[in-house]
């Protein structure tokens, strides 16, 4: 009888120990998971912000903002579920939020590189445009000044000719 008690006692002790270890492992996992999701949220936000700074369209940024707000809602709901004790449902919500965040990070990265390329192209186009316009302005200004100088000279010569002709006429009359 005593032996049975001993065995039962050992069995219960082992069971409590296993349950404790499992519980602590589960809570550690949850902590790590929520920490990971927190850092992913920050990465997603920062990447979206960088894409915005590089000149991504307002519609795309609005998309990212909407998704990130959905993620925040999911995390809040997961916390509530966890507080209620339904760990599975909380984990499902967390993993959904995590996959949404991964999508945001991926899309924001590609949007950022697209925006960088677009900005680079714009810069190149602007530089070329500035050079071309400056050349055109120089060419037109040169042409115009030459034309003006030519016209001035012609007017001067015409006046000179006119003066000479009048002088000749006066000498003939005299």
């Amino acid at each position: 009888m005593r032996r049975v008690h001993k065995v039962l006692f050992v069995f219960l002790t082992v069971q409590i120990f296993v349950l404790g270890v499992a519980g602590s492992l589960l809570s550690t996992y949850q902590l790590v998971a929520s920490g990971a999701i927190g850092s992913k949220l920050i990465i997603g936000l920062m990447t979206a912000r960088e894409a915005e700074t590089q000149g991504a369209s307002r519609e795309r940024i609005a998309d990212f903002s909407r998704t990130l707000n959905l993620v925040l809602d999911l995390i809040e709901r997961a916390e509530e579920e966890k507080a209620r004790g339904s760990v599975e449902s909380a984990q499902a919500l967390m993993s959904r939020a995590e996959s949404m965040l991964e999508r945001v990070i991926r899309e924001a990265e590609s949007e950022k590189s697209d925006a960088v390329n677009r900005a680079q192209q714009q810069k190149v186009i602007a530089i070329i445009l500035v050079l071309v316009l400056s050349s055109v302005i120089t060419f037109v200004a040169g042409r115009t000044s030459r034309c003006l100088r030519k016209r001035n000279l012609e007017r001067l010569f015409r006046m000179e000719i006119q003066v000479r002709e009048e002088n000749e006429k006066e000498t003939q009359r005299a």
Partner: protein
């Protein structure tokens, strides 16, 4: 020869000046103008106006009386921002946020609302709260629970005769440098803070 040289130098001068002017125009059109970065937060009454903050305009809030406000924030930071509005309960002796040292209030946290906000976006939401339970010890009244937006929050906040309680609203944002939440926001090298408070008295129901 001299005339040719002067024409040449004139062309170079025209080219360089047009280059300078056009570069300036291109720079101004391509680079966005820096603007002041700030947040705006506000609390409105139940009519969504700066009035009727208390039921029947009476700041003595009885137990289980619902108080309806609207909290709002507008992002003028020029970029996407992660914003948290923290609502805290404090009495008259608890320090309010420190504007100089940028320290938050030591009041008890009641609720936190978070959102990712776009530039120029206004976020407004209803905030309904009521004092759910209180405890009276001699002349000191303790608010022991508050229901804020359908969530019960257990607290322990004393005030003499239940007078001079206040709900403080603080704005917290994600600091892009430390990547941590900070009270207020960082605008360039500056740190700025914004907070609001509304006073009320807690009253016991007449027995």
């Amino acid at each position: 020869m001299k005339r040719k040289l002067s024409a040449h130098s004139l062309s170079i001068a025209v080219f360089l000046s047009s280059l300078a002017i056009l570069s300036m125009i291109a720079y101004v059109s391509l680079v966005p103008r820096p603007k002041e970065q700030f947040f705006q937060i506000y609390v409105l009454g139940e009519t969504k106006m700066a009035e009727k903050y208390y039921p029947n305009n009476n700041p003595n809030i009885a137990l289980k009386t619902k108080v309806r406000w609207h909290l709002g924030a507008t992002n003028f930071m020029g970029s996407l921002q992660y914003v948290v509005l923290k609502v805290k309960l404090a009495n008259s002796t608890i320090a309010v946020p420190d504007d100089v040292n940028k320290l938050p209030s030591a009041g008890t946290s009641v609720r936190e609302f978070q959102r990712v906000m776009m530039d120029n976006e206004t976020w407004e939401f209803p905030f309904t709260w009521s004092i759910e339970t209180v405890r009276l010890t001699r002349e000191t009244l303790f608010i022991t629970s508050i229901i804020a937006n359908d969530r019960t929050v257990l607290i322990e906040s004393p005030a003499r005769n239940g007078h001079n309680y206040r709900l403080i609203v603080e704005i917290w944002t994600l600091d892009p440098l430390d990547q941590k939440m900070i009270f207020g926001w960082r605008a360039g090298n500056d740190r700025k803070v914004a907070w609001l408070q509304i006073w009320f008295n807690a009253t016991l129901p007449r027995s």
